[in-house]
């Protein structure tokens, strides 16, 4: 199995073509096995503890605009993943235009999200500090607005999304769009590296998206998913999972 695919460039020299898509299967299988293991493990460990009730007072967690951002990002990432890998796994769809348009949507939403988070939101609530690392190992420590896992997932996604965006836009500059024509490629090796990075980030994103979706669907976390739809969590849920001292309602 290869990790990187190579090809001969116009001069007959070997250059990088991109990531090896064999890894797609590796990622898919590994992610599946890990999550299945986790599910089994969790099921076995299940303390049959009652889940906090969703009834009662509602605590605002996400503004409508942020929820919209999230779902647009989610939608575009899913579209991007699907359109990106469809040709690789042999599904015939006219993918490219949908892909880069979704890519641009994702890029814009990410930019807005970043600006909003920096200037209008409690940016610090998502910062991951050394203290956060104690959290998973000490049951007594409860997080503020975002748990350690959530912050971890967020930052991993951030890195990967920034990577696909940066590399994706570079690739976009190399194809015909309504605004520009394809340029000549002077150095095919460099282009290959962009493809490699885009592909590698894709693999990472697929893995983390799978994990993200898995947790979003897990019973004990599902209320977060609801909060991303409806905007609130219940006071019970809040108390059970968060330290209200650390999470200052805005």
């Amino acid at each position: 199995m290869d990790i990187i695919r190579y090809r001969k460039d116009v001069w007959g020299e070997e250059v990088i073509l991109g990531v090896s898509w064999d890894l797609l299967w590796v990622i898919a299988v590994t992610a599946f096995l890990l999550l299945a293991a986790h599910a089994i493990f969790m099921a076995a460990l299940a303390k049959k503890k009652a889940m906090p009730s969703a009834e009662g007072k509602r605590v605002h967690r996400h503004d409508a605009i942020d929820r919209a951002f999230h779902w647009i990002m989610a939608g575009s990432v899913l579209v991007l993943i699907f359109t990106g890998i469809a040709p690789i796994i042999g599904i015939r769809v006219s993918w490219l235009n949908i892909h880069w348009i979704a890519g641009l949507v994702l890029s814009f939403v990410c930019i807005f999200h970043t600006i909003r988070a920096l200037f209008w939101q409690d940016f610090k609530s998502m910062l991951l500090g050394p203290a956060d690392f104690k959290e998973p190992f000490d049951e007594s420590i409860k997080p503020g607005k975002y748990s350690f896992e959530q912050k971890g997932m967020h930052w991993a996604m951030t890195v990967l999304v920034v990577a696909v965006i940066a590399t994706g836009i570079t690739l976009l500059l190399h194809i015909d769009t309504p605004w520009w024509d394809r340029p000549s490629v002077d150095d095919e090796g460099t282009l290959g590296i962009w493809f490699l990075l885009h592909g590698t980030a894709t693999l990472g994103l697929i893995a983390f998206t799978a994990i993200h979706i898995y947790f979003a669907l897990r019973p004990e976390k599902r209320f977060y998913t609801r909060s991303m739809v409806k905007g609130w969590i219940s006071e019970d849920e809040l108390k059970e999972n968060h330290d209200t001292n650390k999470w200052k309602q805005d």
């Binding site: 116009v10 001069w11 007959g12 000549s184």
Partner: protein, 813 residues
Amino acid sequence: MTYMHIGKDFTPPDVEAKVTGAARYAEDFKKDGMVFARLLTSPIPAGRVVSIDASAALAMPGVLGIFTADDLPEAKPPANPALAKEWVTYIGQPILAVAAESDFLAEEALSKIVVEYQRRPFVVDPLDTLVEGGPDPYPMGNTLIRNSGEAAAGTTASGTDVGRIKWSIDQVTAFRNGREPMGAEFGSEWEYGDLAAQFAACSTVIEEPFVTIGQPHHSLESRTGMAYWENGKCYFHGSLQSHTVGHNALAGMLEMDPANLVFINENTGGGFGSKIFPYPVMAVTGRFARALNRPVQLRITRDEEFYIGSARSGMQGWIKIGLKENGRVGAVDVAIINDAGSGGGGSGSSSAEHISIMFQPEAMRFRGLSLYTNTTPRGAQRGPGQNEMAAVLAPMMDKAANLAGLDRVAFRRTNAPRMDGKIGERQGGISSSYMPEAIDKAAEMFNWQQKIAQPKQISATKVRGIGVGQGFHTAGANGYDGLIRIAPDGTIYLHTGVGNLGTYSYAAVVRAAAEALQCNWDNCVVVHGNSDLNLPHSTYQGGSNTIFTETRSSHVAALDIIEKMKEIAMAEFGGSTADYSIGEERVFLTSDSSKGMSYGEAAQKAIEMGGKYSGMEYPENINATTQRSVQAMAGTGLIGVAKDLLPRSGAVPGMAIAFVEIELDKETGKFEILDYSAVAECGTVVHPQGLSQAMNGGGVWGFGMAQSERHVYDPQNGLPANVGLYQSKPPTYLDVPLNMNTVGMDMPDPQSPVGARGIGEPAQGCAVAALMSAFSDALDGHLFNRTPVTADMIVNHVAQNGFNTGNLKTNTF
């Protein structure tokens, strides 16, 4: 004059084998123990070879060795190296050869050889290297300069270096836009007459840019060769247009005594100028065979033939033409940049020569520059220079004539060379010219007056175009040797060192000897194609010169043998040679024809008499090649041998004029040739079928040059697009008219004993010119200023969508 053989059709001896497929070409020869060599070529347009690792290939069982530039004398740029190392200058350039027990193995071995290259900047369009700051095709520059150096042993080019000429952006821009590049530097220049004064005296002046693209030779028989060494002799089966004239050069390439070289080349599947003389890769074949001590066949594939098989040089130019009130061309000023590819050169001066002879301008200036590019090497191709110029000039001359209100044909006739015609820089004379008469004859054949009176519009979408064009090439040399042997059985062996490139001229020329000998053609044997068969030193087969040059040498050899027969008869029957005549293959006393002997008897006597009669002695002035042949035949019959010292002065013009009528479909850019009529002004017609073949073949090629043949390079990567024959687009049977009306003027040239001049090249020039003129006529005088004019260009022009193929770009369409 009534001739026995001259002007009569005959069946050349090789026709049957050609038709049945029995004819053998270099690649058909196999030899016991023969190994197969194949080339590894450059994937990059410019750079150098850093290292070669052939260990994996050499480790394969059955792989016998490799041969690299290190095994050859160093060829200094711009000499075209057989194998490149320091100066890799085009994609497809040979780097090394590998030999193996089978062709398949050789190919496998190639894939195991790793060559490391260092890349350099490259350029595929001459104007891109010409502009200051533009990349150079060689690290040392972009053009050829002369020095006084000698060629290295085993290499050909001498006295040349690569230098650099650059123009300012303004000069290049002006040139691209069809203006004179003021103050620009050129590589060569000539001028006659008072240009400024003549232009001042002109009432019509036009100024035009032009571009013609290259065309690969794509010889159908690729330049595969096979060589082996036996008892110190090298036997070489090769593919050349010429034969003996290349012998010494080939021996030189192999650094051997020419006496030990046996060059065998009975048939040649096309050369078109690319195989006139031995070409670099032959050195690899011969030397590799010597190194391995095995017979080696170095096979050249179809795409390799594209890369190393040469191509016509493209031109980018500017011209200013002035016409006087009286219809004479007063002055012409022309500047030409030639694309010399990675080696070889352009023929700008020959292009200018075309103008100078066809229109006899009273003053003229030529400035030329031949620039290298990282594209395939260029070389002579049928009418190099002249024919490209004929193509772009015809519509421009039409424009000038139309502006001046002159009939296009009358205008050409007014300016056509007469007996006192002058040519080129030195305004030297010509051997003869019946061009005005030829124009009249062709116009009459074509019905010019009636044709131009026809309506232009044929149907809603089809228009008529009527064109006229001229072709020219100097078509004669002299000073070669003739050699004849008559055997005691009376068989007349007509030896010729002329190559058999498919024109049958090798057989046609020796008929001048048969004519002089007044002998039956059935008793003649044409001896050619193998230097072991004792061939004389004959002219090169290029420049349309063979007919003129070699009828002369055949003639002088015949005169020599006749004189010797008379002397032999005189020894028997007394008197003086003047008292003797020949006839019916006998030499006899004019006064008493019973006193004489047959040619065979004379040959028998010659053997007995020895000395010069049987070739024991021979004139000192004959070439060493001829001397060796005479020595080898000495004592086997009566030998006639002589060097052509017949009087000769001025240029020998081969000329042709053609008319074409087309029906052009303005919606598709496609056209049909309704009529093609051409007259060859080539002196006496020696072989009518040969002439019509030359005129038809040239015509077909001219049509191809006008409409489709191409040399295309991607400028971004230096990649050629027309490596395949089909991609180069020679015309097909369905692209040319079924009938082409061609005849010869049949007026004798005084400098040929049989009155003949050559015609090969002008046959193409007149056709391409006439067709270009017809395109322009069909489109109301629109000038494309380029060849070829393809359907897309016509469609773009008609649609007026503002697109054409780019101003003055070569290597493209």
